[in-house]
Subunit: 204 residues, 2 copies
């Protein structure tokens, strides 16, 4: 019977593609190989459009200078949208949370992405976009800041910290109601729970 | 409280990218969104290389005219490799199976990809690459054809059919030992089980 030896597992170009795909969250080496075989089968319908879409988005992606959202324009489509209520500002940890809330289709205001949560001694207010948030809170149009942060220790620490910092700005600070399961992460909530939490938001 | 309305969930270019990624096996809309956010964070390290790798592979991919493997050259690297034993030919259903076997690093022969399994009235011998297999089996160098097919009804039907068709070719036809769990699919096997099945292969 043949001895064990190590041949190249797949051609170099394909190997490289598998290795890159395996770095995506949700895909490992095995599922990346299956994905590559699927892509090869659908070269014109999926592989080439995906290559183009990646190159286009990589070329044109911008971080919105106002809210921190990612978009192909700056300011982003949400900040530009005149139908959005300039009196409402929803503070989220990251862009995934912004997308989750916006997908629910319940909120007609604008967003502010912190980029992280406040963790004393690790992540300070200047690592987050809290100075920019305070600047936005000075706007005479703004009436309410809604804190849509994870119901975790870091999330609630951040919420308290922001509430303190906004105390003199004359805006009402509210937080998502505890419809969200304690310890859960916002990005994983279903739209119904998000809706309940938004509607029952309370003075913080 | 705000009425429900439906804003664009994410910008068009990014939306399109999410929709394309969500078509990959192993990714749904939610994990595709997470993947896109990850890609945006690693634009130079991951997104641009992935776009290039996809475009390169889409441009250069070929189906090997000898064995049916996918590669960027035709004949594929395995068929070209002079260290491979021309006396051994391993018959697999699809390219995923070929890669699974070759990853195990135990087999030093060449492969033959059928493309599907024989299913009377649905998939006939001409839909598979069985005529090409018979042509390869005529080669005086070839000594043994190893059938590495799923231990399913279709796999075993195909194995019997191929054994009949190769009866006059003067090659020995063997099959993977029943180390593989009955009803299981070859592509999901661990390397150890694959090795046991290869070593204990029996005359079919």
């Amino acid at each position: 019977m043949p001895d064990r030896f190590t041949p190249p597992a797949a051609p170099v170009g394909i190997d490289g593609l598998i290795a890159l795909l395996a770095k995506l969250p949700g895909l490992g080496p095995r599922s990346a190989r299956r994905a590559v075989l699927q892509l090869i089968k659908k070269r014109e319908g999926l592989m080439q459009p995906l290559a183009r879409a990646l190159a286009d988005v990589a070329e044109s992606i911008k971080i919105c200078g106002q809210c921190g959202n990612v978009d192909v324009v700056d300011p982003c489509a949400i900040c530009r949208d005149p139908r959005r209520d300039a009196g409402l500002l929803c503070v989220v940890e990251d862009v995934a949370d912004l997308w989750a809330l916006d997908r629910a289709g319940l909120f007609r205001g604008r967003y502010h992405v912190l980029g992280a949560l406040y963790r004393p001694r690790w992540v300070g207010p200047d690592d987050l976009s809290i100075p920019a948030l305070i600047a936005r809170a000075q706007s005479p149009d703004l009436q309410e800041v809604i804190l849509a942060l994870n119901a975790t220790v870091d999330g609630q620490t951040t919420a308290h910290y922001i509430t303190d910092r906004l105390a003199d700005c004359g805006v009402e600070v509210t937080a998502l109601a505890h419809g969200l399961p304690v310890g859960g992460e916002l990005d994983y909530l279903d739209d119904g729970t998000l809706a309940a939490a938004l509607k029952a938001r309370r003075k913080f």
